[in-house]
Symmetry: C2
Subunit: 311 residues, 2 copies
DNA sequence: GATGCTTACGATACCCGTAAAGATA
DNA sequence: TATCTTTACGGGTATCGTAAGCATC
């Protein structure tokens, strides 16, 4: 049994049992992949994969149990590498943060600025993705820290912490009839075509639920991944926009008006998440502290199931 | 990084940093051990061991953190092997149970008999040791199941379950003056020289505490590891014996008398323990069930942090 | 001087990749 | 037929053990 075999087993599951893809992903040959799997099965004396002729189709019962352990071992192997870097190059290295457009654009800039000043030698990779992709990257170990409003809190393998709360805002072109409605109501909004985020993004679920709870079925004529697109089409008069309030800036968006809607939609909480058992470098803890000072290394490390190292 | 390197790191810590011993324990050459350590340190870019000249003295800070992960990985590696055996040879294999003399002699015979009948192909190894040795063997992965009255419950890495409760009994040679004392008191016992178990064995701590709580300092003239030795010397008239009640059998010990002492000493509970995260074979769960039918596979596996496999 | 660690070196085994053959859709 | 997996084979590398050299106690 060696690590290459374990990596191959894990990758085979991830790549849906296509060994050619596995070989490419691990930068090796198919034949080697094939042989490694066979060798491992021979050594263990158990078939790990269900086969139909030569094709691999899935995992056998022992294979399923084994993969759980393999994942844990490879997680620890990656942890060992990071641990070593933490000591050999204390403030150098790479930090991968994966987040949604909204957070990358409006919440993280000041954190990133402060972080780059404090750790100029750390390569900070800010990767953008959907909440589901964020979860997947955290679970795969492809990212160290995830920031999003959706999905993070529901995954048991992730430890997540509240970052900040925010509200949705309703945006209309200057001079729109809704500006006169005081106070603003859901019913009034629902009479206009709406433009907001895609499903699964930036609190969209709460918007839908809020209207549904009021017995309304608004006409969402467009949805987008980010507020800039939404604002563009609101300005063109295609509908009323609902977006994260921090995305609206009166100075930059002179053609738009923000309507007071704090009483209509519930608060959203953006969270910071890390995979449990994932070793974090010292500067990764600093990044989280820069987001929210109360999230100290001790608190976060405890939630991860790791002991905070004595400095 | 490979498994041999990890095994060497673990063994180096266990063998007090004597690489020659490590090499012997792992059936390889010193030179290989030395090189593996150097290679690993080079690959990680960190010194893992504190050196004084050529001698290794201990672990560095990163070394200490690393060892924790290494232990976990090697635990999983061993688990994978057992998991594979579980599927390739369902009712064959090896089960190592480590226990004290008292349990091996009086509590386990009927369990072992039933187990051997149910699993004739399993090599059952019944290893005897002190409670501390039992804990160590469980932690090292050298044993699957531990049975003892002492020590097991206090170790966080072990999951332990109550097996059965028992009482100490006071044993005297036939015709001894204590037979006339009704009811028996601690004060009366303490007037005679006592013979009982060694410190740390078979409830000895509770005996000491019971006398101390009554303000008595009995004269323990002899201590032994097992009841057979104690009985031998009691029969010779060297003192009054205190031993586990199940060790006294009126038919086999005609020269001895058991005095009613249930009211004097608190109940002892013998426990069954397994290291958390240690994969147990199906027959290991059966062994535990034979001890105590309420300890089902589901309950035990849950306490171990493992999912019970679907059969 | 005895024990313990490192370095050097040659034999062996293992791992990888190319290429050809066989199986599957 | 195109895609995918297995088997065969040769080159390269890593690992292992012996032996010698050197440090530590």
């Amino acid at each position: 049994m060696n690590f290459q075999q374990l990596r191959i087993v894990r990758e085979t599951v991830r790549r849906n049992f296509n060994l050619t893809e596995v070989a490419n992903a691990l930068f090796t040959s198919q034949s080697g992949v094939s042989k490694h799997i066979k060798d491992l099965e021979d050594e263990l004396g158990v078939e790990l994969f269900v086969r139909k002729g030569k094709r691999l189709l899935g995992l056998t019962a022992p294979g399923k149990e084994l993969v759980v352990m393999v994942e844990r071992m490879l997680l620890d192997a990656a942890n060992i590498k990071r641990l070593a870097e933490q000591y050999s190059q204390r403030d150098e290295g790479r930090l991968t943060v994966v987040t949604t457009h909204t957070q990358a654009r409006y919440a993280l800039p000041k954190v990133v600025t402060a972080f780059k000043r404090a750790f100029p030698k750390v390569h900070l990779k800010l990767h953008q993705g959907s909440p589901d992709e964020i979860v997947q990257m955290l679970l795969d170990g492809a990212a160290d820290i995830g920031v999003a409003t959706e999905a993070l809190a529901e995954v048991a393998e992730l430890a997540s912490f509240p970052f900040y709360g925010w509200q949705h805002a309703v945006i209309v072109p200057a001079g729109h009839a809704l500006e006169a409605v005081q106070p603003l109501t859901l019913e009034a909004i629902a009479e206009y075509p709406l433009i907001t985020y895609h499903e699964g993004f930036t609190g969209r679920a709460r918007i839908d639920r809020t209207f549904a709870a009021a017995g309304l079925a608004p006409d969402i004529v467009m949805s987008a991944l980010d507020a800039d697109v939404i604002k563009t089409y609101v300005e063109l008069g295609l509908g009323v926009g609902i977006l994260a309030s921090m995305a609206f800036n009166p100075a930059r968006d002179p053609g738009l008006r923000r309507l007071d809607s704090a009483h209509l939609f519930p608060e959203n909480v953006t969270r910071i998440a890390v995979r449990r058992g994932h070793y974090l470098r010292g500067f990764a803890y600093r990044f989280i502290e820069l987001c929210e000072p109360e999230l100290t290394e001790t608190r976060v490390a405890h939630a991860l199931g790791a002991a905070a190292p004595t400095p």
